[in-house]
Symmetry: C2
Subunit: 550 residues, 2 copies
């Protein structure tokens, strides 16, 4: 194998050598000469570099190299001096573990971070103006990266021909094939496109978890006008290979990692989440009864959080057999769903289990592997497939308005939480687009200080044209086929908390009256009052206003 | 052929007989016995009936039967009495000619109208609360119809087994095959799914225009879990038949029509629309130069209106060869684009030419027919295909906000204009999502009373996650890869009218300051002022406010 010019500059530490498992997992002999220590690599990353990581929902991300870079920055106190300060442009399919991403943010090492994140320090940096963040439909992020949309202003690297969108890809693998291709860990995410887009590749082979070879389905990602159909008509269909093809010449270092994915426990169920799940399962039963859904439903997508856990938990015990799952991420409750035999097959782009869940999964890996498949987020979240398969999509927003617009990202219109994720990929294209949320959330002074059913969502990520069903612990509103004037009373009546029903109906009634009077009554609003619940919240810590007009 | 029980109730007028052309065009002999007069059919439509029409953007819709129903209602003064009043639930792929739809609205004959409409009386009825209207992504409307989402509350017809979503389909044809299948006119739209969904079918064979047999590509529309990929990788690919398959037993009447599609002239170009087109063509040239687009571009989608005309007009003379078009509707300027040879192939779901354009087109039909193809709106607007082909999508909104959210439907948040159409199908899934608008619009008292660049769009149909490029006559803002804090200054600087630039920058600066102060600066807003331009407009007839805070 020809060494890249760059490779010659990487020092080879002689102090540590790869384990026997590493030698067994890395089946391409040429890569063994690229074995390196993370500490040797850390100084090579330059201020302003464009870096892509593997990882999705906090699993399958690189741990050694990002940690070594942070250690290097911290121990040399680089951030104190504008001349030595390092800030990077960081691109990952979705979120990664807080010990790397949040630490980078705390050290102010992130100039730009796309398209999704989880972590207090990262969101603090974004909302404080230190980190440029843009959230993007997760199905689109990888293509926009390969299109060069994120690297329009990236300086051209001297040694790079042709110009690549990323300087570096740092990815976790659980094995490497004879061809030098990468077998990912418990997520695929945007890793194929990040590898395709990077000038230099660093591989962290994680020998603490089993080789997950066979779990993944990796298809080639072409650019228009050369794209081909995804020939998938069932969640278990495969269209690719079990490893990610890469050009071995671009691999500049291979590390050994034994650090686990730093996941936490799943969100515990609550009486509210169980009530929501119960409304939803009843709704699905009713749809089967009237013949609008087959008796084994259609493939399910379910988001993250306690409501999702309650729903999947309910289905694990529930009335439907041979259920299919086509989703973005699998949580612990899916293990039970598989174990009870109700779930036949599940595909996603990531498995985010708790530490105990992963222990169980890895110990019983042989039993699960033929009923699971991980795909890239470009495929898992593809509008093409979500629509073709007729997915039932279920996600949690921050708030939904009385006409069916939803906010999934920005509290009070401005403060970014985690980002859009794949919610709009699924909700736009599903056969049944379902949003579930508690009807209220507490503030410091009021256990129901925030209503999640509002007159006009303070940020809109999903529109009225995308949602079919809204459900809270109060009830379920079926919006299919309803006009805006029909939707508002149904949403308020079925979903709003009793403490807000009157306020919301008064908003609607007054808006209707005013708008009809001026011949503008299609989607009635009093724009002067549309955001009044929020301004009251900012001033008084609750959305309970005294009156709509003074 | 077995006559349906219903058919026996239709009187057969002896006063008029089909023309020779009709007999030639209707190749299924059994249909000749179903020849009927529209006046005989009119009384059969009952209050509350669910009716689907063919038609899209005012072409290819039925004229005879809807007119006869309106005549019947009007001449018998049915609407004066609640007991005789007739209001129908009307479903059409998009808009139809005003002489039928607007007349129905003026006679208060429309209870419900989905998913798009054009006409003063229809929008008046919607905004006055007389017509329930919901706009929907045009790719989704046909599937939601076949899913039964629009007929959840429809009473079950006595003689109908199984229960169909529509009582009636009334469709225009330019020919009928031996199998009894329907060759549409100048639009396909939702006609296949409307026919599939209807209990009883009435065919209007239009003998005043040529048989357009061979122009259409009709694929079968399956429901999940039985959907198949659309095997299209080039705009000229065919995946279906040239006529719409139907069950001949459901055809209850066949009429002869000689009424033309009632189209008007195309919107004339203006200096503004030419300036927008010029910015856009320069942008496309630049993208080709840096290698992000092939030299013949990627398939183009272009909306309706004078800006679209200027763009296509510019391209007809322009620097790109062998251009492909994948769009929703073709206007007159496409004739020139075809004639200059720059446009190689165009596919759409409708051809909406001016009367002169149609004359030219029908007279030269043989020359054009191998370079054109009409598909159903479910396929023309399919996310699957728009994304696979890497479409360049260009549409006009009412307004765009400083972060890249767009309003395509509701003036001042409430007054419905025409509906969403296919704008969000294309903008969400295109490789390049472009919105073009004049930077201002006039009010009664101020030639620049309305700014189309606003702080917070009063209704949101396309989100910040969907738009790449905003262009006005002032300039072009390239938003790709930018965070919200980066987008706002670029949109204001490049796109806003000089009379509003200061106001908008002040809104952004003050919002930024306030939101950073409370650690919520991702997408800065002053919610108390976010809609102030609109409330000023409602009170004072202009968006030019004196100050953001009193």
């Amino acid at each position: 194998m020809r060494a890249t010019p760059f490779l010659r500059n990487i020092p080879r530490s002689a102090t540590s050598s790869p384990s026997a498992t590493f030698r067994e997992r890395v089946r391409r002999p040429g890569y063994l000469s690229k074995f390196a220590q993370p500490t040797d690599l850390a100084p090579l990353f330059k201020n302003g570099d464009y870096i892509g990581w593997s990882g999705f929902t906090g699993v399958g991300y690189p741990k050694m190299c990002p940690t070594a870079i942070a250690d290097h920055v911290e121990s040399n106190n680089l951030q104190a001096n504008p001349e030595t300060k390092k800030k990077f442009n960081l691109f990952v399919g979705a979120s990664v573990g807080p010990e790397v991403e949040d630490r980078w943010a705390a050290l102010d090492m992130i100039a730009r971070r796309y398209p999704h994140q989880v972590g207090k320090e990262v969101s603090k940096g974004i909302n404080a103006g230190r980190i440029e963040f843009a959230d993007k439909h997760l199905s689109m992020f990888p293509q926009d990266l390969t299109y060069g949309f994120y690297s329009r202003n990236k300086p051209k690297a001297e040694h790079s021909k042709p110009h690549k969108p990323l300087d570096w890809a740092i990815v976790e693998a659980t094995a490497v094939t004879e061809e030098g291709w990468i077998v990912p860990g418990a997520s695929v995410g945007a890793t194929p496109e990040i590898l395709q887009s990077a000038d230099k590749i660093i591989i962290e082979v994680n020998t603490a978890i089993p080789s997950l070879e066979g779990l993944h389905d990796i298809n080639q990602s072409f650019l228009p006008p050369h794209r081909q159909p995804y020939l998938i008509t069932h969640p278990s269909d495969r269209i690719g290979t079990t490893a990610i093809p890469i050009d071995p010449d671009r691999v500049v270092a291979v590390l050994e990692s034994r650090a686990p994915d730093n996941t936490g426990p799943n969100a515990p169920e609550t009486p509210e989440s169980r009530a929501i799940a119960s409304h939803l399962i009843q709704f699905l039963l009713d749809e089967v009864a009237v013949g609008r859904l087959p008796s084994n439903l259609l493939p399910l997508q379910s988001g993250i959080g306690n409501v999702a856990n309650s729903i999947i938990g309910g289905l694990a015990e529930g009335p439907f057999e041979k259920v299919q799952v086509w989703t973005e991420v699998l949580q612990d409750t899916f293990i039970r769903f598989l174990d009870t035999g109700k779930l036949e097959f599940a595909t996603a782009t990531s498995i985010k289990f708790s530490p105990e869940g992963f222990d169980h999964f890895y110990n019983h890996w042989a039993e699960y592997k033929d009923r699971l498949l991980l795909r890239s987020q470009q495929v898992a979240n593809a509008p093409e497939l979500i629509r073709r398969l007729g997915i039932i999509a279920m996600n949690t927003p921050l708030e939904v308005d009385i006409y069916g617009h939803a906010n999934s990202t920005c509290a009070l219109g401005s403060r970014m939480l985690n980002g859009l994720g794949g919610s709009a990929d699924f909700l736009r294209n599903a056969k049944l687009s379902i949003m579930h949320t508690p009807s209220t959330r507490p503030t410091k002074t009021d256990p129901h200080g925030i209503t999640c059913i509002v007159p006009f969502a303070s940020h809109i990520d999903q529109t009225e044209h995308d949602l079919d069903i809204v459900v809270t612990e109060q009830g379920l509103a079926d919006l299919r086929g309803l006009s805006p004037r029909e939707r508002a009373p149904v949403i308020i009546e079925k979903c709003a908390h009793p403490e807000y029903k009157g306020l919301l109906m008064e908003y609607y009634d007054r808006s209707l009256h005013e708008c009809l009077k001026r011949g503008a009554g299609h989607e009635p609003h009093m724009l002067r009052n549309a955001f009044k619940l929020y301004t009251n919240m900012l001033e008084h810590g609750t959305m309970k206003i005294k009156a709509w007009d003074p």
